[in-house]
């Protein structure tokens, strides 16, 4: 009895896996999102003079 149950369970697991891979073929890979980088337009150069050019 135990052998029949074990056999049935193993066949069921193989069937689930077979159905899954038959119905879900491998898809092209979607590149992972790159880490968020700051917008170059908003980058503030810490070394730049603030409030305009003082020499003018």
């Amino acid at each position: 009895m135990r052998s029949y149950l074990n056999f049935t369970a193993l066949v069921a697991l193989f069937a689930i896996a077979g159905w899954w891979f038959a119905t879900h073929p491998p898809l092209p890979r979607i590149p992972e999102a790159a880490p968020a980088s700051p917008n170059p337009a908003t980058i503030v150069d810490a070394g730049a003079p603030r409030g305009g050019d003082a020499s003018r």
Partner: protein, 151 residues
């Protein structure tokens, strides 16, 4: 009316015994491979070293079914105990692999993709392709290599 013990001891058809034996062998081989790469994908989240991933995965994959077998095998009834270890290993390894790869696919696919990337960086192209297949993605084109950001 046979009781449970007699039902387990009754002689089974030779064809069933043959089929069950080879289904068990296949389940242990496929289940061990699937369970090992699944556990490597999990361990790789914390430790990317190949040796650490492989050792932890193989240890868990072999030890857990052994502990379960040890706890359920009837020591006073050796006839009933025949076949329990192989049946436990086959069922547990295959059930874990199917659960990880198929049932929890949405949660585990990213882990498997990153494990495939690690395998590719380590030069294990065949393993990497198998793991990417389990993750449900195609291998990247030959010109591109997995980026460091996918670690």
């Amino acid at each position: 009316m046979l009781d449970w013990r007699e039902a387990n001891l009754i002689r089974k058809p030779a064809l069933f015994v043959f089929l069950h034996r080879w289904v068990k062998v296949l389940a242990i081989l496929v289940g061990f491979a699937g369970t090992t790469v699944s556990l490597m994908a999990v361990v790789g989240t914390y430790n990317p070293m190949l040796v650490a991933r492989l050792a932890a995965a193989v240890l868990v994959a072999l030890a857990v079914p052994a502990i379960v077998t040890w706890s359920i095998v009837p020591r006073r009834d050796p006839l009933i105990a025949i076949g329990i270890p192989s049946e436990t290993y086959a069922l547990m390894l295959l059930a874990f692999a199917v659960s990880f790869v198929v049932v929890a696919h949405k949660l585990t696919a990213p882990l498997l993709i990153r494990e495939g990337d690690r395998q590719a960086r380590e030069g294990e192209d065949m393993v990497a392709r198998a793991v990417w297949f389990l993750a449900g993605v195609r291998p990247p084109p030959p010109s591109s290599t997995p980026s460091e950001s996918t670690r």
